[in-house]
């Protein structure tokens, strides 16, 4: 691990100004991702600003927009607290399920909500510093494109990068149309979740649309009218594994009619993948297995597979159907 400067502060503005003013500085939250990456020499910050003392770690009620109150997750709150908080469990059970499907209890106890959004891909070539990787070293090439890519993207990838975003929590946040509240040198702004993470395009080194030095202060979960939901994660072992495919499914139903669906997929793209095609198809239809299947197939039609991940199409279809079925039963 390369030597780095360490500082800590309990003022958000100070943290922002230090990191903004220093191109190789980074925030340190739970450290469960950044420290691993530093030990492996993948991330090489010259300075870490410890933000765990910032008082933005609470789960609070968010003022209602059009009738339904939402919830605000402080960025420095722990994943475990978010998952177990009564406000989250009652109003956004899909988020609670998604968080608990990730990592292990020990890691979730350390991991923060903000850090979860900014965790980096698990692509093994990103970690293998002797190998080309555009995400780690722009312009060096993508080793996974023609390499071992069973775990890689089937949506929205480019020749430059086929990595997937590893988070479970973010899949639920995408389906919930969360908003990411950030504070930067130029002030505060709110980013719609669908615009938060990026597709790789020709800049795979950029995972998201944050400016350098911008700090996530909170994640807002706006109130919604979904009455059914489920998070399904399919993985190679029962716990402590990243998703082959995961699905956050939300339905607003009226009797057996679906008024609105919101579906996001994990393990398939550089960002949590909103299944807009499937959602569009389901709106106004009745909640039947056949409609679920058609919606899922419609969505997966756009997939482009790599040498080792063709199975994700059929698995994706089945996972969407299964998640919708389980949502319906919820």
């Amino acid at each position: 691990m390369r030597p780095f400067k360490y500082s800590k502060t309990s003022e958000a503005s100070k943290a922002v100004s230090i990191v903004s003013g220093s191109p190789k500085a980074q925030f340190l939250a739970g450290g469960t991702n950044i420290l691993d990456l530093m030990k492996e020499d993948v991330e090489r910050p010259d300075q870490l600003v410890d933000i765990t003392r910032l008082q933005i770690n609470q789960v609070t009620t968010l003022a209602s927009v059009g009738g339904k109150a939402g919830v605000k997750l402080g960025a420095l709150g722990k994943n475990t607290e978010a998952a177990n908080h009564p406000l989250v469990r009652q109003q956004f059970p899909v988020l609670s399920q998604a968080i608990l499907a990730g990592a292990s209890a020990q890691i979730r106890n350390m991991a923060t909500n903000g850090g979860n959004l900014n965790q980096r891909t698990r692509c093994p070539y990103f970690y293998e510093v002797s190998m080309p990787c555009n995400k780690r070293e722009p312009g060096s090439g993508c080793s996974a494109l023609k390499g071992i890519n069973r775990m890689h993207a089937i949506f929205g990838w480019s020749e430059n990068c086929v990595a997937v975003h590893p988070s479970d929590m973010c899949v639920a946040l995408a389906a919930l149309d969360a908003k990411v509240e950030v504070q930067g040198a130029k002030g505060k702004r709110s980013i719609d979740f669908k615009d938060y993470h990026r597709l790789p395009g020709d800049q795979p080194e950029k995972d998201n649309t944050l400016e350098h030095g911008e700090l996530i202060t909170a994640i807002d979960l706006p109130g919604n009218s979904f009455n059914k939901s489920y998070y399904l994660k399919i993985r190679d072992r029962a716990s402590y594994a990243f998703a082959l495919v995961s699905v956050a499914a939300l339905l607003e139903t009226n009797g057996s009619t679906i008024r609105r669906a919101s579906i996001a997929l994990g393990g398939v793209a550089h960002k949590p993948w909103r299944a807009y095609e499937a959602e569009k198809f389901l709106a106004g239809k009745s909640a039947t297995a056949e409609n679920f299947r058609q919606a899922a197939e419609l969505e997966m039609k756009q997939a482009k597979t790599l040498a080792h991940n063709e199975f994700k199409i059929e698995l994706g279809v089945r996972a969407i159907v299964q998640a919708l079925n389980q949502a319906l039963e919820s």
Binding site: M1, I234, D236, R237, A241, F311, K312, E314, Q322
Partner: protein, 707 residues
Amino acid sequence: MNEPKNIGQGLDRIDGLLKVTGAANYATDYKIKNVAYGVIFKSTIAAGEIATIDLSEAEKLPGILTIITHKNAPTLNVKGGIRGGALLQGPKIEFFGQHIGVVVAETFEQARYAAQLVKVTYRNGEGRVDFEKLAKEAELPKEKDKADKRRGDVDAAMSSSEVTIDAVYETPIEHHQPMEPHSTIAVWEGDKLTLYNGSQIVNGAQSAAAATLNIPPANVRIITPYIGGGFGSKGGQWANLVLTAVAAKMINRPVKLALARQQMFNSVGLRQKNVQRMRLAATKDGQLTALAHETVTHTASDAEFVEPCGDCSKLMYATPNSLITYRVFPMNVMLPTYTRGPGKSTGSFALESAMDELAHKLNMDPIELRIKNEPAKDPSNDKPWSSRTTVQCLQDGAKAFGWSKRNMKPGVTMEGDYLVGYGVAAGTYPARQRDTSALVKLSRKNNEVEAIVELAASDLGTGTFTILAQTAADALGIPMDKVAIVIGDSQLPPAAGSVGSVGAASFANAVNDGCIKITDELIAKSGKQFFKRPTAREMMLTEKLASFESRVDAKPPAEAENYSVHSFNANFAEVWVHKTTGTIKVQRMLAVTGAGKILNPKTARSQIIGGNVWGLGMALMEESVLDPRYGNFVTRSLADYHVPSNLDIGTIDTIFIDEDDKVPNKLGIKGIGEVGIVGVAAAIANAIFNATGKRVRDLPITPDKLI
């Protein structure tokens, strides 16, 4: 022999408290003054040569004591018994991740940082890393016992028999990944070297280190009282051991060197990939007429190791026609080595899956098929069995498991959204005792007699300390808490290793022999006659001796050679497969084991459960994936290389068959170290077939293979 008071009792491990409180010292836990830290750096190509190594940036850092590369490393004896090469003897690169240097620094962090700053350029060679492409070059192994074994005419039987199976089963590269990564502290005092190092074979580590360093074995001391698992990877020793000693010599200071978890994938051996073609032929009523087991595998570029995948096939079933073959080709990968149940765990996946396929084709219960083909003697050498419990394991297991509830028709039994299936497999592992010496020391204070028993055995964490204390206590007539077992030091009387499931049989018999011998000597010394043989304790008391000691050099009984001596087992699994997503849950497993005398049912049960868990990992998740372009493992940490998590493991029950077989050795021990994994992968794969109707012949069976 004295009345057994402790042997056969399910006692807690006597080292348990030390371990859960952190008081047990593993290799690098020893507090050594003035110790420096070594960090290994590795090649990033699979084949070729180092062109340049630029150390200038690394050397400039504070705290750096030396950097060892092939340019300044001393000449070592590469044939000294260290496995896997990588001893920094030249610029040649044989596999991705080969050690190419060691940084030694005042602190671990300094050494690791410097290692990252070393710049290496290579002259790339032609890497041989693509198994599929190279497999056709496979040739007969050099090792004699891997020669073709042919009885009768398999081809003829295949073409004339009523029912046949011809299928290929694949098992991937796996890694041992014990909890404790390989780590060493090396301390020189003049020309005497002490190595704190996890070693399954204490004397083996000593002789390999000495020979490789070109010094007499008497100058090398290995200390290894506690080992955090090894599974075969700490049986032979690897370059990291000797390089720690080299580093310590070069800076004239003790050095500590631990491999990082990621480095474990290309430093200490692996289980090789095996492609096994099975052919079975049978009559309509299920009598086997032929059995062929042909394995193609890879080895390292410069040394040969071939897992004996045909070991179960050569003796499990009676058949007039049999063929066991091996073919191997070199690849630029780390040298394969012994891995829990070598050949038996992997080979039984092929054999016992094929038997299940045959049973299905015959519309016969797979247990019935196995029992029908039970051989009266060992078909591979015509020797009588010392004892064989296959049939009893299968029958007792079937009863306990509720096998009668199994639906013969696959793919139709459901529980909610899950397809449910039952599977069974049988297995075996050879039982052996190896030469081991032991020193028994008795001392008396007033009415208290205490014993210290010393031997250069090792305890992998399985309970060796405990079973030896039980054995000695019974044989001496002394309470267990007055017996101290001292092991894990090469200065003690030489012993076999904790390898090949020989540990318990070799160590416990030596201890037992030593205790009998010391009792005999005490009786002889007293010059008295006794109606009832007194215990050593009684002799120490009546003769008022302050201390007495005796050493024994125990050997396996000669007549064991005239028998085929094996442990046998049967594994049962109930597996649930989600009907849409292919997710697999192993709800319960049952292991029935006939392994002779069980010294401690509690530690034995743990050992079998451990074997079953590893078998589950083998069946469902373990796979080291090689990138065929570069020869690197893409599964480079335990986040990518999956072993079972708690949630993957359902109920595991164990049954031990009560066996009294004194052919293998005086105490009737057959060994349970490895038999627990044999057959497990097949039992699970067979249950998955029974659940889904899908036969998966390449491990691991992940959800994508079931949709």
